[in-house]
């Protein structure tokens, strides 16, 4: 932190450069960082405590409604994959911004799942299967069965289960890509 009596205080972050302290304070000629990391500022308004927030925000150029987050390990490049309405992104800890994997204008990503080789994303009434490089492998279209595919889960055998708005029961895509529907006959009495 750099304090200047006649101007705003500056925060120096090696990754981001200089940024202005987001408060209208005139800070006198020094600040104190306590062992717990908190910074105490003597200001014209009194002593001010600056405390690091618990959560930090990932900055994406377009911040939209996030629909799903999913973790990755092993062969995956990033630690977290997430989607907003029209964007599918990955984020690596320490990077200043998330990386865009795919953009679906007029689409609506809903949920994500990851296994060792596939990133599954539901978008409106489709399920998109990406590889570890973010390349689209296959598109499954369920327009004939209902509307938005709200949720997906992978079982231990890597079968993909999902729910679809205005449709019956649960659906499953097995590892061969075949569709199975679980409805009343399979014990589910409600849609």
């Amino acid at each position: 932190m750099i304090n200047a009596f006649t101007g705003p205080s500056l925060i120096v972050n090696p990754a981001d450069g200089f940024s202005t302290l987001p408060f209208t304070l005139t800070v006198t000629n020094q600040s104190y960082q306590a062992p717990d990391g908190n910074i105490w500022l003597p200001t014209e308004k009194g002593v001010v405590l600056l405390k690091q927030q618990i959560f930090s925000e990932n900055r994406s150029r377009k911040r939209k409604y996030l629909c799903g987050v999913s973790s990755a390990s092993g062969r995956w490049e990033a630690e977290c994959y997430f989607c907003s309405k029209e964007h599918l992104r990955s984020y690596t800890i320490g990077h200043p911004e998330a990386k865009v994997i795919d953009i679906r204008l007029k689409g609506y990503y809903q949920s994500l799942q990851l296994d060792g080789e596939n990133l599954w994303a539901s978008n409106v009434y489709q399920i998109l299967q990406y590889d570890t490089e973010g390349k689209l492998r296959r598109t499954f279209d369920f327009n004939q069965y209902g509307r938005f595919i709200f949720d997906m889960m992978l079982d231990p055998d890597k079968n993909l289960w999902f729910t679809q708005e205005a449709s019956i029961g649960l659906k499953q895509i097995d590892t061969e890509g075949n569709l199975h529907i679980f409805a009343k006959e399979q014990g589910l009495r409600r849609s």
């Binding site: 405390k51 959560f55 925000e57 990932n58 987050v69 973790s71 390990s73 679980f182 014990g187």
Partner: protein
């Protein structure tokens, strides 16, 4: 997905949960009689099974189901009957995380205590979306209406909340410096006001309890952290307070004032 099979949530109280074992071909009703009162319709939003307990994020709050039955996790008037969108259990800890309209809640299933994380702790928004919560070895990821948030802190270790201070002490309308309390005489049976605060942010989320030395139980501090004693009888008093602000902190017991009521002494 559970340890032994797949759970499916529904939107009727009679059949709000189904289960299919991995080696089974059909789903079976897995509901228990709902005996607690709630407002509106019961709808299951998210499910997480951990150590034999099924945690349900529902339209009426966080629910807990085990072999004996289902109950709603009582979190006080503010959070009861409030839509919970997502739920996750943090492995090897008693913590159950869920989201509601106020932000992200960390519930301790052993003690019943809970902590709320919201925009004041760095979340871009208090609105956390369905499937917008992820706990992994890296930390906690939160998908909000205004972007992704992350913390390395996995909340297993707590640090003490800074000790509170008396920032105002008033006896019969007269301000008294705390440092001079033991020397300064106050009128008999005074009306006392004590305002306390911890040098912590956000200060309005610090919860305090207090007791006088002749009391056995801790009492919740009133709203605004302003204590009032209408008629203090003569004697020597020691007051203690215990502050607590979030899961990353724990109470730091601190005796912060000893005052003598002179005039009667």
């Amino acid at each position: 997905m559970g340890t032994n099979g797949i759970y499916a949530g529904s939107n009727t109280v009679e059949s709000y949960l189904y289960f299919k074992a991995y080696d089974d071909s059909i789903f079976r009703k897995f509901t228990k009689p709902v005996r607690f009162a709630y407002e509106g319709a019961l709808r299951i939003e998210d499910i997480h099974e951990y150590n034999g307990v099924i945690w349900l994020a529902s339209s009426v709050g966080l629910l807990r189901q085990d072999e004996h039955g289902i109950e709603r996790v009582e979190l006080g008037e503010r959070f009861n009957n409030l839509l919970a969108k997502t739920v996750k259990c943090q492995e090897d800890t008693p913590y159950v995380w869920f989201s509601n309209a106020y932000g992200l809640v960390q519930y301790n299933s052993e003690t019943g205590e809970f902590n709320l994380y919201d925009e004041s702790e760095g979340l871009p928004s208090n609105t956390i979306n369905t499937r917008g919560l992820l706990l992994n070895d890296d930390g906690v990821w939160v998908g909000t209406a205004s972007g992704l948030a992350f913390t390395h802190n996995i909340f297993n270790e707590a640090s003490p909340t800074p000790s509170p201070r008396i920032i105002r002490f008033v006896a019969d309308g007269q301000s008294v410096r705390v440092e001079s309390l033991s020397k300064k005489a106050v009128s008999p049976n005074p009306f006392i006001e004590i305002l306390i605060s911890s040098p912590s942010y956000p200060s309005n989320k610090v919860q305090y309890q207090y007791k006088l030395d002749d009391e056995e139980n801790w009492q919740e501090m009133p709203a605004g952290n302003l204590l009032t004693f209408p008629k203090f009888t003569g004697g020597n008093y020691t007051m203690a307070s215990e502050p607590k602000s979030s899961a990353t902190t724990h109470g730091a017991l601190r005796i912060f004032v000893i005052f003598h009521q002179r005039g009667i002494l």
